[in-house]
């Protein structure tokens, strides 16, 4: 009895000494932490092992697109919540997916197909801090984008990154969170609705 109480009370930490951080999602405060229930399991959808194709760790070589993990993503969310608007977390999945599995706090949803048509590309690029100067895209103020989708086996964020690279988006301002929603949820981190 005592033992079980002790194990229940043991906090689930993000990092040594860090239980939660306060972040903003669309201006609303969210406590970003791991599920404190030690018997909690990852949602059924992400228990499936058969989906997609395995992505390498660096799918965009020789482009220097950095692959990041949960802790780096959390650092970026922290920066955004402290008013840094040079960083953006981008969810590359359709709404049908984010409705079921949720999103990473502070993320915005942009699909790769939105980069195809000129009109939608313009509004997406506006969001990314890219403007048109003399009929050319000016990437000097382009934001650092942290892109993710479903996980190791998901091709949606790699596709978005490839399209951005084709459009000359600076590779060093693109970060690939390969673990995606599955890895995020596999350590029980907070998700939000769009």
């Amino acid at each position: 009895m005592l033992l079980s109480f002790a194990s229940m009370a043991k906090e689930v930490l993000i990092q040594k000494g860090v239980k939660s951080i306060d972040v903003l999602h669309k201006g609303v405060p969210v406590s970003l932490e791991r599920n404190q229930d030690r018997t909690h399991n990852i949602m059924k959808f992400y228990q499936g092992t058969w989906r997609g194709k395995i992505q390498p760790l660096y799918p965009f070589k020789p482009h220097p697109v950095e692959t990041v993990s949960e802790l780096e993503v959390i650092d970026y969310i922290d920066q955004i919540s402290h008013g840094d608007d040079s960083v953006l977390i981008v969810d590359s999945r359709p709404q049908s997916a984010t409705m079921i599995t949720g999103m990473i706090p502070s993320a915005v949803r942009v699909e790769s197909k939105q980069l195809l048509a000129a009109e939608s590309r313009k509004s997406v690029f506006e969001l990314f801090g890219v403007t048109k100067v003399d009929n050319k895209w000016d990437f000097s103020k382009a934001k650092t984008l942290v892109l993710y989708c479903n996980g190791f086996w998901c091709g949606k964020s790699p596709r978005t990154i490839r399209r951005l690279l084709v459009l000359d988006y600076p590779a060093e301002r693109l970060k690939y969170y390969r673990g995606g929603m599955q890895a995020w949820r596999s350590v029980g981190l907070t998700t939000v609705k769009e």
């Binding site: 092992t49 990041v68 190791f152």
Partner: protein, 242 residues
């Protein structure tokens, strides 16, 4: 079932045809058996096409379903579980373990972080003549019983390696290609490349083993850290050895 029947009837028909042709005139036998072969091949391709349509593969990479590696002389196939209803083992469904590890926990040491496809290529290198790669499972032995291990891996429990200096030195000498000199110093010039893993991105066992190796002076560029570990491996339904 139906297709099998079709194949069978085709086969019996061609045998029958063979017999009949032989009986009626003296056509050379080669051409008739060739004919039978052709019809059989046709039936086989039709069958293959039908079954291909029915069964959607679970892929490693685009166009690659499985990779065969040779471990200690025995061919071993690594693929993902082809069952589209397969779920990850209960053990790895839990979300509340450990603390999250960064992507590169050993900075500024040049220990490279790797993922599944890179790990598979290291496993494939195990059969090289040079034998300069070791896949190291850093977990306590109980985990191997509970969750299995990676094909070709050897178990070097991190806690024993840390506590027992003799075990550590012997392991490095016997398995990792480190030369222990007569004065007790370690020579890493022949050291093998280690691909080290444990349970996953929240697990401290392989990082602890790697830190210990770095303390001994093991060259950082010869250590690879598979951060996803057994959990990511199983999340993708990849082949596990019991």
């Amino acid at each position: 079932m139906k297709l099998l029947f079709v194949m069978f009837s085709l086969l019996s028909f061609s045998v029958l045809a063979d017999y009949m042709v032989e009986g009626v005139d003296n056509k050379p036998q080669v051409s008739t058996s060739d004919k039978a072969k052709q019809t059989l091949e046709k039936a086989a391709t039709i069958l293959a096409k039908k079954t291909k349509k029915k069964k959607k593969h679970v892929w490693l990479e685009p166009g690659v379903i499985s990779k065969t590696v040779i471990i200690e002389g025995v061919p071993f196939t690594i693929n993902r579980d082809q069952d589209r209803k397969h779920l990850i083992a209960k053990l790895y469904q839990k979300t509340g373990r450990g603390i999250i590890k960064p992507m590169h926990p050993f900075k500024p040491h040049a220990v490279e972080t790797i993922a599944e496809l890179e790990m598979i290529s290291y496993i494939a290198k195990l059969s090289d003549k040079k034998k300069d790669v070791v896949v190291v499972d850093a977990r306590k032995p109980i985990w191997l019983i509970l969750a299995g291990s990676l094909p070709g891996s050897i178990n070097v429990p991190f806690h024993t390696f840390k506590k027992d200096k003799n075990f550590a030195r012997e392991t490095m000498e016997d398995e990792f290609g480190v030369i222990v000199k007569s004065n007790g110093k370690l020579d890493f010039s022949q050291a093998k490349t280690l691909a080290v893993y444990c349970n996953g991105n929240w697990c401290k066992m392989s990082p602890e083993l790697i830190w210990e190796l770095l303390d001994y002076g093991y060259p950082a560029e010869k250590i690879k850290y598979y951060r996803g570990g057994m959990q990511a491996w199983q999340l993708l339904g990849l082949t596990v050895v019991e």
